[in-house]
């Protein structure tokens, strides 16, 4: 309950922030919100599902490309609905995750570092693929992705200006946050916690471990796909960097710094790291990466639960169940 209050407060502060930070930063913050959504998806699969996915940007990129291809009318010129694009992006990412996850988790399954390496390799493969897939823009990516067009009750509205776009994205992010939080507090959350801590103990209680793993992997991929789909409409641009190694690792750092076992901390981790990046890189240039690296190490060594999750947990008084 208190957890939800804090989250409401965070979203309220975010909603009020455009007044204080002005147009340019509101535009930046919109993109950070989308990164925050990606971070949430990684927190769900890694922190809650116990699946260390080192290539989360795969799903982000797949969602982005599907959205771009569909709304640019490259598949069917008359079918460019943004809604359809968003749904297809989520479904496409989820389906890809199901297929990949089946190979990863079926049978004895792969876990830990091996899983991380394979997902990382997959992200690299996809990045190479997109770099060379000329029909989809190749190295240059796809330009002129149209902004999201909202249709309701016959009226239509394009998310082009900064303010409406910001609030629309914030609404989606908050909605996803509360839906996932609700899901995690249900019986599904209990199953996930059990499967994260002792997957071997669940089968003899009647659980199909593969199905649960696949479900969380696909759900997380759908959220990442949604984030990617929104992202390409912000700049109107989809490129191979969205799908690959760098973004995957960055997302991992945001989530580790924020706190993987707390959705809100992971979300804020992305926003704060990106904000810090734009400020600090102006002051320190490339040395800023050093600062990020140090922050990452501090978080891993001293506060393994995350720089943000530790104080947030104190604030909410909630303690997550830990591995034993």
């Amino acid at each position: 309950m208190r957890n939800n209050l804090i989250a409401l407060l965070v979203f309220a502060v975010l909603a009020a922030s455009p007044v204080a930070i002005g147009g340019y930063w509101t535009g930046q913050l919109t993109a950070y919100l989308v990164y925050g959504l990606l971070a949430m998806s990684l927190s769900l699969v890694w922190g809650y599902g116990g699946i260390l996915c080192f290539g989360q940007a795969m799903f982000f990129g797949i969602g982005g490309y599907i959205m771009a291809v569909l709304t640019k009318g490259m598949i069917l010129p008359e079918l460019t609905s943004s809604y359809l694009g968003l749904i297809a992006a989520m479904a496409g990412s989820a389906l890809f995750a199901l297929a990949l996850g089946y190979f990863l988790f079926a049978g004895r399954g792969i876990s830990g570092a091996y899983l991380a390496i394979i997902t990382l390799a997959m992200a690299l493969v996809l990045e190479r693929l997109m770099n060379n897939w000329y029909a989809l823009g190749g190295y240059n990516g796809l330009l002129n992705v149209p902004p999201i067009k909202l249709n309701f009750f016959g009226a239509s509205f394009e998310l082009w200006d900064r303010m409406p776009t910001f609030y629309a994205v914030l609404a989606v992010v908050a909605l996803v946050y509360f839906l996932v939080t609700w899901l995690l507090s249900s019986a599904y959350g209990l199953r996930l916690t059990a499967i994260r801590t002792h997957p071997d103990r669940l089968a003899s209680l009647g659980y199909n471990v593969l199905t649960i793993r696949l479900s969380v992997f696909a759900l997380s991929a759908a959220i990442a796909g949604l984030a990617g789909a929104i992202f390409v409409t912000l700049d109107g641009f989809a490129s191979p960097t969205l799908i690959g190694f760098t973004l995957s690792t960055e997302a991992l750092i945001w989530v580790a710094i924020g706190g993987k076992e707390m959705l809100l901390a992971a979300f804020l981790g992305a926003i704060l790291t990106r904000t810090a990046e734009s400020w600090l890189s102006e002051i320190f240039g490339d040395y800023w990466i050093l600062i990020l690296g140090i922050a990452f190490m501090i978080s891993v060594v001293l506060l393994p639960k995350g720089l943000l999750a530790t104080p947030l947990e104190k604030l909410t008084g909630s303690k997550r169940k830990k591995t034993r």
């Binding site: 019986a187 209990l190 199953r191 916690t193 059990a194 801590t197 002792h198 071997d200 103990r201 669940l202 089968a203 003899s204 209680l205 009647g206 659980y207 199909n208 471990v209 169940k321 830990k322 591995t323 034993r324």
Partner: protein, 233 residues
């Protein structure tokens, strides 16, 4: 109830069970005794599908289960209380039970009141973290967790290991009562002779991956030479 024929199973290349056969009667409590390393736990895990069968057959209540995945075996009525209890230490007692209930959703589950009636301590401490329980209490929880799924047969792997004697007797007496009342079949791996005497109807002695001898509990009560032969080091 459970018929095993010419079973071979083990870890990788190393076979622990070779040509193992036995029949467990329905509605009876059967104890499996033997020294460490004779394959008792391997047998339990193989029945549960946790270890892959190399060859042979396991029939449970008319179904061949030797190729089924573990969750499927659990859902057709095989309850399992593993060695070391394996409860979820950071879950509350109620959450541990709920987890098992959810796993058997849509099946023949028992009402939680029935469980609380059998084991009142679980009701008293429903909101306590299971990790703070004593060994005996954790064992009771592990048994309750298996029972709540409404199994036809219960596999118990060394339930008295590391538990104080007074609780051992209570658990034995309570399980015996439950088996009589519900007609539950139990296969128990046990080294504790008191537990076996309290609970079992029949005793199987296992050595080198095969059953060497079987006797009913009366025989064992009168003559403990079998115990010396198969248990003493």
């Amino acid at each position: 109830m459970l018929e095993i024929e010419n079973l071979a199973a083990g870890y990788g290349e190393a076979l622990v069970l070779r040509d193992f056969s036995c029949r467990i009667a329905p509605g009876k409590v059967t104890a499996l005794m033997g020294r460490n390393g004779m394959g008792k736990t391997t047998l339990m895990k193989t029945i549960m599908g946790l270890i892959r069968v190399k060859s042979g057959r396991i029939m449970f209540d008319g179904t061949a289960i030797e190729k089924l995945p573990t969750h499927h075996i659990s859902r057709i009525g095989m309850g399992y209380v593993p060695q070391g209890r394996e409860i979820f230490a950071d879950f509350t007692v109620a959450e541990n039970l709920r987890l098992s209930l959810l796993g058997h959703e849509g099946g023949n589950v028992l009402p939680i009141e029935q469980i609380y009636d059998w084991f009142p301590i679980l009701k008293e401490r429903a909101e306590q973290r299971a990790g703070t329980f004593s060994g005996g209490q954790q064992q009771i929880l592990a048994i309750a967790r298996a029972l709540i799924g409404g199994p036809k047969m219960l596999l118990l792997d060394e339930p008295t290991e590391g538990i104080q004697p007074s609780i051992v007797h209570d658990i034995g007496a309570q399980l015996s009562r439950i088996a009589r009342e519900t007609g539950l079949s139990i296969l128990i791996v046990e080294q504790n002779v008191d537990m076996v005497r309290t609970l079992a109807d029949e005793v199987l002695f296992m050595e080198n991956g095969a059953i060497q001898e079987r006797c009913d509990i009366e025989t064992l009560r009168q003559d403990d030479s079998l115990l010396h032969r198969y248990l003493s080091v």
